[in-house]
């Protein structure tokens, strides 16, 4: 018996694009469908990512890496990346309450009921302790400790982590991995797209020097221009520009921060925000602002907000929006070719990942894949809109000073988000739709962080006696103090992660 996969309708997959997205796509498609006989070829365009760029990833990337059998300690060593337990949001004046968006749950179940309604009720009766003070993940981050769950922590709640991955070395690492695993590659400066004569499908791409790479199916990872999906197949774009106040992004790097923090620091200034992403070899900074501010002023503002000497500064246009179909004919767009997000909350790699993870179980099995395409486009639209809503909430709910933030408060809000904010304010309940990338814990952190205080609570917690509630709240705080003490510092953890014993 052999693994004959000769009846695979799509035999040649061509992935066109640049930087980490094209190589992540190649790794995923090759490892999942290589065994079925799929040939994966990458056409690599010149990269745009430089030493100032970093991916601040969501926790979902780690399981994808695990599926690709990527060794985390080697990856961190090779890229000089860092771990992150969440994001600390604050303004530089201190006038608006700061909050921590931790990648984990907050509190623990009390009397067999959810923690949040208990906290709302306790607060109603005078509790002064902030919600995030009950987050073990946030507490560890604030103390510079990486959190490694043991059995006790797993019983207590849920905790996770993301990465800060310097974009250039990360892309290079994925490229080596893809090539080792049998992906073919062509490099080119120029790109032309060839159509089939009889259908409206793409037949292949033309590279410089007249080389041609033909294929049955194409992934467009060329970035926001979507050279194949938009450039050739003409898929239109739905602009989200009106929902977001920033249309320019500045990236830069700075020397590493001693005693490496294990979270991103996001600072609101009057003309935009700035995020500091600590990494081992350097610190990456990103500043989002509106083009109403001059580039010169933006550089000055960025240095002031970062309080660091910046180098390698680059400024790029950012125009959020979604292609109305991510899959058209025999071409699927992933990452920015399908959807450009606002830079807050680091959703860029998540967009790539969503595109790939949804594609795998729907990858064409025969020539008729209309049902798969419809399903894919429906899922991706929902998934992208849910991320957009999370980011949009950050802007419309903000309480920061300055014209940038005032305008942000007036941006339009989707019906789905309006419902979410309304129900949370009314009851503290998170309406969690299908295809959410951000968890209920993420939404709680965001909404409470921006001051959406629930007016009532789930009546299921009413029966818990007040004394028991008080005792449990004290117990949780004590547990957090004790557990944080037990953790290693971020730097120690990275050392350990690098040591061969950990592999």
């Amino acid at each position: 018996m052999n693994n004959a996969a000769s009846d695979l309708a799509i035999q040649n997959l061509v992935i066109v694009g640049r930087d980490a997205p094209v190589w992540l796509a190649a790794c995923v498609m090759q490892s999942a469908l290589g065994p079925a006989g799929l040939h994966v070829t990458v056409v690599e365009l010149p990269g745009v990512m430089g030493p100032a760029d970093t991916y601040a990833t969501l926790p979902a990337l780690e399981p994808l890496h695990a599926r690709l059998r990527i060794d985390e300690s080697r990856l961190m060593a090779a890229t000089c990346g860092a771990f992150t337990l969440g994001k600390h949001f604050h303004d530089t004046t201190g006038r608006t309450a700061a909050f921590f968006h931790a990648y984990g749950s907050t509190g623990a179940r009390i009397d067999n009921t959810e923690f949040l309604p208990n906290w709302i009720k306790a607060r109603h009766y005078g509790l002064q302790v902030a919600f995030e003070d009950f987050s073990l993940t946030a507490a560890a981050a604030r103390h510079g400790r990486m959190l490694v769950p043991d059995a006790e922590i797993e019983r207590h709640g849920f905790t996770d982590y993301g990465y800060h991955l310097p974009a250039f070395p990360y892309g290079a690492w994925l490229k080596q991995l893809a090539l080792r695993r049998g992906v073919s590659m062509h490099e080119t400066q120029a790109l032309g797209v060839l159509m089939k004569a009889d259908t409206l499908d793409i037949a292949g791409v033309e590279l410089d020097g007249g080389r041609r790479v033909m294929g049955d199916f194409f992934i467009d990872a060329t970035g926001d221009g979507a050279a194949l999906l938009a450039g050739k197949l003409g898929v239109q774009r739905e602009s989200w520009r009106g929902s977001f106040p920033a249309d320019r992004v500045l990236v830069a790097h700075a020397p590493p921060i001693p005693s490496l923090p294990v979270y991103a620091d996001v600072r609101a200034g009057e003309t935009g925000w700035l995020a500091v992403h600590p990494n081992q070899a350097c610190t990456h900074v990103i500043h989002a602002f509106s083009s109403e501010t001059s580039e010169h002023s933006a550089v000055v503002n960025a240095e002031r907000l970062a309080r660091l000497a910046l180098s390698g500064t680059e400024i790029r246009v950012r125009d959020p929006g979604r292609r109305v179909f991510a899959w058209e004919r025999n071409c699927v767009a992933i990452g920015e070719a399908a959807c450009v997000f606002d830079p807050i909350h680091g959703a860029d790699l998540q967009a790539v990942q969503l595109g790939l993870v949804h594609l795998l179980p729907l990858f064409p099995v025969d020539a008729d894949y209309a049902a798969e395409r419809n399903e894919y486009n429906k899922n991706l639209q929902a998934a992208f809109e849910r991320i957009r809503d999370f980011q949009s909430a950050h802007y419309v709910l903000n309480r920061y000073d300055g014209a940038f933030w005032e305008r942000a408060r007036l941006t339009p809000v989707s019906r789905d988000l309006l419902r979410k904010i309304g129900v949370f304010r009314a009851r503290g309940d998170v309406v969690h739709y299908e295809d959410e990338s951000f968890s209920i814990d993420d939404w709680r952190a965001l909404l409470l962080g921006h001051g959406v205080m629930p007016e009532t609570w789930d009546p299921a917690v009413d029966r818990t006696p007040p004394d028991l509630l008080k005792e449990e709240l004290r117990r949780i705080l004590g547990f957090i103090r004790r557990k944080v003490e037990e953790q290693r510092s971020h730097a120690q953890y990275l050392q350990g992660a690098r040591s061969p014993l950990q592999m």
């Binding site: 018996m1 079925a36 179980p361 399903e375």
Partner: protein, 512 residues
Amino acid sequence: MAHSPLHIVIVGGGSAGWMCAAACAQVLHPQRYRLTLIESDDIGTVGVGEATLPALRDFNTLLRIDEAQFMRETQATFKLGIEFRNWDWPGEHYVHPFGSFGQLWGGVEFQHHWLRARRRGLNPAPLEEFSCAVRACRRNAFEFPDPKTPRSTFYGYAYHFDAGLYAQFLRGWSRARGVKRIEGQVVDVALDGESGDITSLTLKSGQKLDGDFFVDASGFRSILLGDKLGSPWEDWTHFLPCDRAWAVPCERSADFTPFTRSIAQPAGWIWRIPLQHRTGNGHVFASRFVSEDQARATLLGQLDGRAIAEPKLLRFRAGRRAVAWKRNCVGIGLASGFLEPLESTSLFLIQQGIQDMLRLLPAPETGGVDERLSDEFNRLSDALYERIRDFLILHYVANRRHGEPLWDHVRSYPLPESLAHKLQLFASRGHVPYFKDGFFSRDSWLAVLFGQGLAPRAYDPLADFIPLAELDAKLRVLHASVATHAGNMPAHADVVTRYCGESEPARQVAMT
């Protein structure tokens, strides 16, 4: 506590009313919520033999109900799934089990591995033999599932019981926990002139009852939500034309199944629900395709025991109230909608409605209606009804019963787009979309799709990573382990007798 308690008035004392009363009594704080239920001995409830879904166990757990006692008092038996006979074609049958087929290998769903084995000539055993629950059904066997068992041999279970006795059981339970019961019939409903909220009910006796929040559990009459508040009825009879049922109990037969049976008929289907003391039977039919008399005769002709009562005729319509929670009134059960009991969803819809209502109930501090919360309830309710509706229609359209008016009629009607899309995806590659919310699960869809004879054109090539020889070996090992697991289960009849039979309150079975 500073605020006077919020007074919840439940109208109707069937399963819906008493399930709601019991859950409220269990969850809500008596100083914050006061509960009254109005029921009339003059109004019968629909209560017939009821088949349930595993979710009901969560409801009973919420109430901390002792399972053996509850089963004894409601004449309950265990249920591992539903057997559908003649649905695809006369003589064909399959089981929709409460459990999965096989297991995931390498993150790829089992049906793809199985389809691949078939496509590649490995001649795997039939799909249903990879379900522990189905194999137990074939042997009329039952055992409590062991939560430590791997997914391949795991399954859930539900109950068959007498719905009238269940309501009685919960009535006793609720009254012992402070629910006030008023005997009476509502003859008038007063609304607030400004807000349109219900303010009070007047009973036949002349008694006037004020309330803050009202649960309409009055059944099809929907006297608050439908009659008074005018929540419009959304009719689904074009999708699901059955509108009557004859119900009749008969003597218990030797065939003591751990499953509900549903037998397709020219103009509907017949249910068979085994209880401890009798078997519940009913014929759901479409009156435009068969006369009542003929349907009655069909039912009586297919009983496997002597009828022990006169058949009772029930009338219904498929559909729902467009707004299930309006102003300060929420409809629970038939007052908010009806879907034929083909997949045993009646009590599940009630239970889900109650649980969502409890979570979104007005607080005594705010008192009035909060539309942000009632809108969310309605969103959840819509999604649930629509998904179940699609699943039911699936049974009527995925078959080869051509030439019979009811079946031809349903097939001729355009499908809801959501269902047509699912059918295409399955036909293409055996894929069933996953949903976080709502029913039914992916496993359930697969059971019915495969069961009713649909076959995908291809399997998912993600399954190709396993070398064929290894796949062959894995399938054999799995098949044997499922067979052994199900083969070791005791007879359903014995488990019921030992665990919750009338004479012996033995609990040993649960302990071991």
